[in-house]
């Protein structure tokens, strides 16, 4: 379980206001990283899919053009 902590953070004036933040456990960080990688892979696969479908829809005539 992540913990909410009151951290002391310096601001511009050198004061140390109290702010609340969430500190993730190592396990939560690992899972978040896995989720991020999964999202990246899905987005990459979508790009590839759109590219391939575009080529398919254009058909072989796409190669016949003046250079």
């Amino acid at each position: 379980m992540a913990a909410v902590v009151k951290a002391m953070v310096d601001d511009k004036d050198g004061r140390k206001p109290e702010i609340e933040g969430v500190v993730l456990t190592e396990e939560q960080k690992r899972r978040r990283r896995q989720r991020s990688i999964a999202i990246a892979l899905v987005l990459a696969a979508l790009c590839l899919l759109f590219y391939v479908v575009t080529i398919v829809k254009l058909g072989p005539a796409v190669l016949i053009r003046p250079l």
Binding site: V22, Q34, L49
Partner: protein, 324 residues
């Protein structure tokens, strides 16, 4: 009026018995959901049957479809089905928490926030419909959108907690995939795709009521008006028999109408007879362990029955697809 905010923050606390979480704490990263938990939200087992039946629709549709377009259609239908599953789990998290079969799902177990499941499901639903509509054809996209709407709004939100006919009408949502596949491949709706729809539609009640017979305690605790809870197990057995008496000849009709070959005719007759035999067993055995065993056998076999019917339709269509 649906209070999404309270669903988001209050339900995991009520359901999982975990330590209280305030609204401020329910932020990204707090719920330890893994990639596997998000995959579980998609109901992969339901999704696999949807993919399979949609594939049959694509393969059996008249005309030719480019393999990449066919794959895209199948992917969109699968993601759309997964989105429906995620939205169903979002809405039903409170009743999932009190049912033995579903209480380990990611939301009631506190691993994914309901709001995250809602966002996940909506993103996939909108994405799958748009991609199918834009890359394949508009009719398929519209049918997929209607299927998701039907499953989430008509079945999950409206019918499931209101009427014992919930899975009869809601079963239409599960019956649409072959029709969506057919529309994706041919751009239209053929008679055969309607027949495939009807087979799954009439298969759903015996399948789910067999489960409800031995899980009626679960549904009763959750306040879901499944037929055994509302009308009793005797009436449920009668209804299972009636629906199966319609289902078996309906499943054989593609052969009699000349849409399927002899192989399908034999398989649909043999498995139909087995299905009817198991239903009669459920009808007769009404007490104790024997009754539960019969219901479990029927539930298990009903899945195999539908799988075999569609598998033969798929196998018969493949040679035609290759011009053999």
């Amino acid at each position: 009026m649906i209070d999404v905010a309270s669903r988001e923050y209050d339900m995991p606390r009520k359901m999982a018995g975990a330590e209280p979480r305030s609204g401020a704490l329910a932020v990204e990263g707090m719920y330890p959901g893994s990639v596997a938990d998000y995959v579980a939200l998609l109901k992969p087992r339901v999704m696999s049957l949807v993919i399979f039946t949609a594939l049959v629709g694509i393969v059996r549709a008249p005309g030719e479809v480019h393999p990449i377009i066919g794959f895209t259609a199948l992917l969109c239908i699968a993601i759309g089905a997964g989105a429906s599953g995620a939205l169903n789990m979002w809405w039903d998290a409170d009743i999932d928490a009190v049912m033995s079969r579903t209480r380990r799902r990611p939301i009631p177990a506190g691993r994914i926030a309901p709001g995250e499941a809602l966002a996940f499901g909506m993103t996939l639903a909108v994405g799958s419909v748009l991609v199918l509509g834009l890359l394949v054809n508009e009719l398929a996209g519209a049918l997929l959108a209607f299927t998701i709407f039907f499953y989430v709004v008509i079945y999950t939100i409206w019918l499931k907690r209101w009427t014992p006919q919930n899975i009869v009408i809601g079963g239409a949502a599960g019956a649409f995939p072959p029709m969506v596949g057919w529309a994706a491949a041919s751009g239209g709706i053929g008679f055969e795709s309607v027949l495939l729809f009807l087979i799954i539609f009439f298969w759903t009640p015996p399948h789910f009521w067999a489960l409800a017979l031995y899980k009626s305690g679960d549904y009763e605790r959750a306040g879901v008006p499944m037929l055994p809870v509302v009308a009793g197990t005797a009436e449920t057995r009668r209804q299972i028999l009636l629906y199966t008496l319609i289902l078996v000849p309906l499943a054989m009709s593609p052969f009699f109408l000349g849409m399927a070959g002899l192989g399908y005719g034999i398989v649909s007759a043999v498995t139909g007879a087995m299905m009817l035999g198991l239903v009669l067993q459920v009808y007769r055995r009404r007490e104790g362990a024997a009754a539960e065993k019969a219901a479990r056998q029927l539930f298990g076999f009903s899945i195999l029955y539908l799988f075999l019917l569609f598998a033969v339709l798929l196998v018969e269509a493949i040679p035609a697809g290759f011009g053999l």
